[in-house]
């Protein structure tokens, strides 16, 4: 019995040393394996959470249902009217493009995904989505919502992926400021506030609150150009460069549906 205990202790020590000396590649493989194990737990947990949430929504009073019905009806009429106008504009746009010889604007191939969990780590901003290699997802693919960029894929397993959010200090995005020639690097901050900082700007950059910031789409980068990143809140000149604080365009915490850009159409 004692020999068995000593053998177990030695094996434990050997395994501990092996794990401690692992390089990035094997660690990534191990992480992918763990994500595969967590995948059914996260997916089923998320489904239960959604069911409980919808249960609460279903328990509305008749007055609330009537109010909701009236609101939806009014919105439907407004959207129908807008749709009619947009159809005219689309036809006009197509006509003008044809006349001017514009190429059709390239767009992205998007894979829709549902958020199945937020990383509970205190100092990292990540979330998990229910899409993986089986859906054509690979590491370092941009993740967006209809409001703008929220991050990029990091670890990817068969049907679960981890998304590193733009609000994380490790996620660096080349960015440009609307209406100026200013370009910089946009990152998150360690202090949890959800704000972004745009650094390496010119010290003389005259940025005003409310100006939009978009991805710059540098060659060799992973983020295409023109995706909304945030809005300038403040700007200050530092010793060597200028730094702007941004309000992110997309609220990564409140999103349940996101899209992964897997390539151009």
């Amino acid at each position: 019995m004692r020999k068995l205990q000593i053998a177990a202790l030695v094996l434990l020590a050997v395994l501990a040393i092996v794990f401690c000396s692992m390089e990035a590649g094997p660690l990534r493989h191990l992480q992918t394996g763990l994500l595969g194990i967590l995948s059914p737990l996260s997916r089923s947990g998320s489904a239960v959470k959604d069911s409980l949430g919808s249960l609460g929504k279903d328990l509305m009073t008749l007055d609330q249902l009537q109010a909701e019905y009236d609101r939806v009806l009014a919105e439907n009429r407004r959207l129908r009217a807008e749709n009619g106008g947009l159809r005219d504009l689309q036809q006009e746009n197509a006509h003008l493009r044809e006349v001017l010889g514009y190429r059709e604007r390239s767009s992205f191939r998007l894979v829709p995904a549902a958020v199945v969990g937020h990383d509970s780590g205190a100092w990292w901003s990540t979330l998990r989505i229910n899409r993986g290699t089986r859906d054509g997802i690979a590491p370092d693919m941009p993740v967006i919502t209809d409001k703008g960029l929220i991050g990029k894929t990091a670890a990817v397993s068969d049907n679960l992926s981890e998304v590193l959010l733009v609000t994380d200090e490790n996620c660096k995005v080349a960015a440009k400021v609307e209406g100026t020639k200013e370009q910089g690097i946009c990152t998150g901050t360690r202090s949890p506030g959800g704000e972004l900082q745009l650094t390496f700007l010119s010290k003389l950059a005259d940025l005003q609150p409310g100006q939009k910031v978009y991805t710059a789409g540098v060659s060799g980068g992973i983020f295409p150009s023109g995706i909304a990143l945030g809005t300038v809140k403040s700007f200050r000149a530092r010793e060597l460069d200028g730094m702007a604080v941004l309000e992110p365009s997309a609220d990564s915490g409140g999103n349940e549906e996101v899209f992964v850009i897997t390539g151009a159409k």
Binding site: L12, F19, C20, L34, G117, H118, W123
Partner: protein
């Protein structure tokens, strides 16, 4: 037999607690996240004998380390060394405390969970400060360390009594008297 069952249940609970804590919403106002894994870990290393407790600590380190693993430009930010050393050290410490108190008690588990949580989050913060530079300590950072630890202190008794109910630990004759001291 009960100990094997307890080890198996706790080993399954580690990834389950990790998945569950990722699903739970953050606590306002600074969006702190609940940490359930340290609570399960503290229970395991207090309830199990030394050798299984060390194996359990290694398993906890693997789950925690791999979930938080960040690889940037081929470089690992915090590898498995820190979690492995951290959880093994805490396993030894809690075992010693458990021995000195003649077995585990719910108060011990609650304080152990809070201490493991506070040292884990603060340790991660210090490591990131060393790796990335800067030391941005403000009120929100302190709250991110304190609130999950206080939450662990409150959650721990619930897990303690739930697991005692699920796995009726009885003294056996194998020579290890730890389960006999498993009490309220």
């Amino acid at each position: 037999m009960n100990r094997i069952l307890l080890f198996v249940i706790l080993s399954v609970l580690l990834p389950v607690s990790q998945a569950l804590q990722d699903l739970l919403p953050p606590i306002p106002p600074f969006q702190e996240r609940l940490q359930l894994l340290p609570v399960v870990f503290a229970f395991g290393v207090l309830a199990l004998p030394l050798l299984p407790a060390l194996w359990f600590a290694l398993l906890a380190a693997l789950v925690q380390g791999l979930v938080l693993l960040q690889v940037q430009d081929g470089q690992v930010e915090i590898g498995l060394t820190l979690p492995v050393v951290f959880f093994l050290c805490w396993a030894f410490l809690l075992q010693m405390v458990s021995e000195s108190t003649q077995g585990m008690r719910w108060e011990l588990h609650a304080f152990g969970s809070a201490l493991v949580t506070v040292s884990m989050i603060a340790g991660q913060f210090l490591t990131l400060c060393i790796k990335r530079g800067g030391f941005p300590v403000d009120w929100s950072v302190l709250m991110r360390i304190i609130v999950p630890s206080a939450a662990a202190l409150l959650i721990a008794p619930l897990l303690y009594f739930a697991l005692r109910f699920l796995v009726p630990i009885a003294p056996d004759d194998s020579g290890d008297r730890k389960p006999a001291g498993f009490g309220v």
